[in-house]
Symmetry: C2
Subunit: 630 residues, 2 copies
Amino acid sequence: MPDRKQFRDLAPPERAHEAIGSLSLSPAPETVPLEDAAGRVLADRVDATLDVPGFDRASVDGYALRAADTFGADEADPARLELVGEVHAGTEPDVEVAEGECAEISTGAVVPPGADAVVMVERTDRDDDAVLVRTSLAPGDRIMFAGADIAGGERALGPGTELTAREIGLLSALGVDEVPVRGRPTVGIVSTGDELVRPGQPLDADRGEIYDVNSYAVAAGVREAGGEPRLYEHAGDDYDAMEAVLREAAAECDLVLSSGSTSASAVDVIYRVIEDSGELLLHGVAVKPGKPMLVGRLAESAYVGLPGYPVSALTIFRTFVAPAIREAAGLPEPRTATVEGRMAVSERYAEGRLRLMPVGLVADGDGETLVYPVDKGSGATTSLVEADGVVEVPADTERLDEGETVTVQSFSPNVRTPTVYGVGEDDPALSRLLDRVERPRYLALGSREGLRRLRNGVPDVAVTSAPGDPGFDADELGAWNREWGLVVPAGNPDGVSGLGDLVDSELRFVNRTSNAGLRTTLGNALADLAAERDVDRHDLVSAIEGFDAGVRAHESPARRVSAGKADVGLGLRATADSLGMGFVPCGTERVRLLGNPDRVAKPGVRALAEAVASGDDVFDALAGYDADRD
Amino acid sequence: MPDRKQFRDLAPPERAHEAIGSLSLSPAPETVPLEDAAGRVLADRVDATLDVPGFDRASVDGYALRAADTFGADEADPARLELVGEVHAGTEPDVEVAEGECAEISTGAVVPPGADAVVMVERTDRDDDAVLVRTSLAPGDRIMFAGADIAGGERALGPGTELTAREIGLLSALGVDEVPVRGRPTVGIVSTGDELVRPGQPLDADRGEIYDVNSYAVAAGVREAGGEPRLYEHAGDDYDAMEAVLREAAAECDLVLSSGSTSASAVDVIYRVIEDSGELLLHGVAVKPGKPMLVGRLAESAYVGLPGYPVSALTIFRTFVAPAIREAAGLPEPRTATVEGRMAVSERYAEGRLRLMPVGLVADGDGETLVYPVDKGSGATTSLVEADGVVEVPADTERLDEGETVTVQSFSPNVRTPTVYGVGEDDPALSRLLDRVERPRYLALGSREGLRRLRNGVPDVAVTSAPGDPGFDADELGAWNREWGLVVPAGNPDGVSGLGDLVDSELRFVNRTSNAGLRTTLGNALADLAAERDVDRHDLVSAIEGFDAGVRAHESPARRVSAGKADVGLGLRATADSLGMGFVPCGTERVRLLGNPDRVAKPGVRALAEAVASGDDVFDALAGYDADRD
């Protein structure tokens, strides 16, 4: 066993903020072309170096004239001025306006010498070479004087200004085409762990390889925070390789983040590299998730070691690292949307650390927000997208009660609660129907879990293949039928003909987990078979190799068979069909969409019910499916 | 006069939304590498094509074993298991665990055959080649089973999902390295108007040239909305050139925006090109600013003609075009932050069009938000950055009263009201001192306007060089002195020696506008001169050529002199010094920072006062300045 660091003296979260704050991440300012300046932060004050406009400018289409010539003029008694020329925008006036004269002028053109006002064309009439001005003007009317917008020498924008379309507009007006901006901190991301493989590369699951989740996810987080991510080649867990890549990253970046491995040996190697080549300021923080966080310096660069599990890594990144990157980039802390809601369930917690609890949001029938914890274990990546935000639970809070009001820090300022939240059976038709609903959330945890949660009042709908009355109040919002049976290799090499073969032959069988409605359907069919054979159901199933175990999703048994790890799997005709495998039909089961009666008026629930009702094309396209229109 | 289109039948704003909504801007979906997918929107559903994890995975460092061997074990009575091997993350197990045996295992490693649980190292002790397990385990403990996170065939992400760091993480876990995303609409920006010059190019103000503001500003807006801007070479106002560039843009883009020129002739040419090469759906909208908006089709592309004035162009873009771009890109409408506030002044309006009134925000002494209109005329670009958001005033609202509550749609979700809002004298030292305050807003409108507005209760502070009691309650928060006089060309070719020369010689003089405190100071000095000479003050000043006119900013008179348009300008020694010009001193004036007594505790006001108090380095660096420490 490696000499595992125990993180015994966990630092309070404030200490972690301080430690990161004490590091210098700020890169040197740089100059960028105006067209690339949006989103950047001004490094220096920008003063106008010219007048805007640079000349006395006509604000309307009309005639430039001397205001004194129009004194007393009105509709009935116009002033008559001689038209002596014209001035267009973008040309130098070649006319001078004397007493009793005027010149035609277009919007934006230079007011010619001699003129001190412009009358809009709508207040005039032409009379051969004369213009009748039917209003009195004051000097300066309809003229924007040189420098009236901003004058040379004036302060235009201050340092620290974030450049949006509006500031880009002002800089354009000043003729600025290169802008001094704060540098973006370069953030190196070093992924560690012998078992990690970059997405897109082949994966050997037998060796325990998994895809590297943190590199691209943290890189996206770095970019969102205004930093420039740089991914480094994955380093193995040995000291020399790790030291080489960390030193390379430290030489090239303002901040180095390591992340990826969950193994103690990799953490230990990093720990030693930092101690040898830099300084460790902090080791372990009293926060869940994310305890094993490191903060220090690595050569000239700042360093933060993120936890290996993706949820932990992103939570720690968001809470502690992103604010430091934004600060270095000069960007404001985003106004994270906060949402008030009531706890949908009770939640206990007694670890004495600040808890950043990921939660999902769902609107109840009255439109009030319910908050439910999302906790699939820190190794799960799906919980990344099943949560809408985080509730900060103080270290001394041991329990949140159902109905208690909590504040959720949303993951983004644009909180968009799912329109419908469902739990239940994993079904390929449902998966396609959900595409027709805007922002659904559906957890394919099986019929049993769907019904359990629907009864507890959290989701809007459950999808179940269990027949009969669920035992609580629920509305049936739609249904369809699917053919189930045994999935076998293409060509059915073992000549499987039905459920009896599972009992009678030495076939390795793959069942679904006990939450799957399909497993219940199989169980019922086997009970019928036992009755038919007049044997004990328990004896019957115990003769099936692999019956007690189970895998999660509708394709999982078929995939086991396909990989040669089993001979027969429980599954759907549609699955066998789509994977090009053989299929032995055993029956048809009815899958129902059940709704919480208080929620059936929610637009998302109605949209899903409508998708089922009008989903014939989906059912037609899947083998063994048909709509159920009872 | 060109045949001007009159926009007589203005469409209601809803019609403009409908017309743009009827155009198809949506580009084809595309596939991008995972590392570039953040911020994009998923075009298709992504199902898992593999199990995550792909194997039964140890969740802790410890020992893989058979749970049955530990039944009944506890601290006092551990189970003793023979250690038969080890499994590390990223390696295939080369050991099988039989009854009474265990294998060392690291977090993330493959659970070896035979084992059905893992015990964490903390609950064990080593005893030579044996391991003492001091707890009872159930099958499955500390194992994450294959597919438990997400299983092959499961729905992972639905179409329309916006990809953030979290979704990128899930896609990484699935090994996805290429992502099908909605295309970004390509938006061509055609700038029109003979008078427009791209920033960075030389400008000939005598010809009435101005920098093109809309191209880069609208491009930044397009990017913010999720589109891909493409700038086209500026087209002149003649039909052939305009038609060529509009056709080129239409062939290459999903949407073409024209913008730039305010002249009726350019608008007319565009109008004709659209009628000849496409279809005009809408011409003129009942909204202020932004009446002259065009919506139509240009060959295969959608087309919107933006008004020429920058404030109008960006307002129309934000209100009507950006939502259509977001829709085409599949991005959600951002939750625009809205701010409630009280009108700081009354505002009349009676044009019978929807008004999108740009407003600034300032916190009063109680922290309540005051809202004031920002209206410098539609030709002004500075009002772009002097407003914080927009109040929608319905067409039938003729008056907003002071104190009335209004809702401000902030320009960005991160509303950041300026920390201090000041109005007053244009002063180069102040400009530098403001750099030391976070997010100040200062309008250099002159001492007179500063005092007027301070008295009316809108700004926090005024900066004035007018001496004496302002006539209302105000706190002096700091002061400095500046030397003023006459700015002349380098070497003083006319041998100007003082104010008397303005009266006695034929010098062309440039004064400041009447809001400038410096003009008042000059007036007082001339009154003294008249008294000294025993002549009428009016006769004295009327002998000065150019006295009655005036230019806005502290550098403006000097710039006129420098350009050869005048011989002498009113100004500061610091200005003459920084522009390398000659200077004839006339006196010193005291510039004061005055505060609204209710607002002096505001952090931004205190920061500015502190910047003045500690600004000796700024005063030392500017010729003719010193701190005033009374």
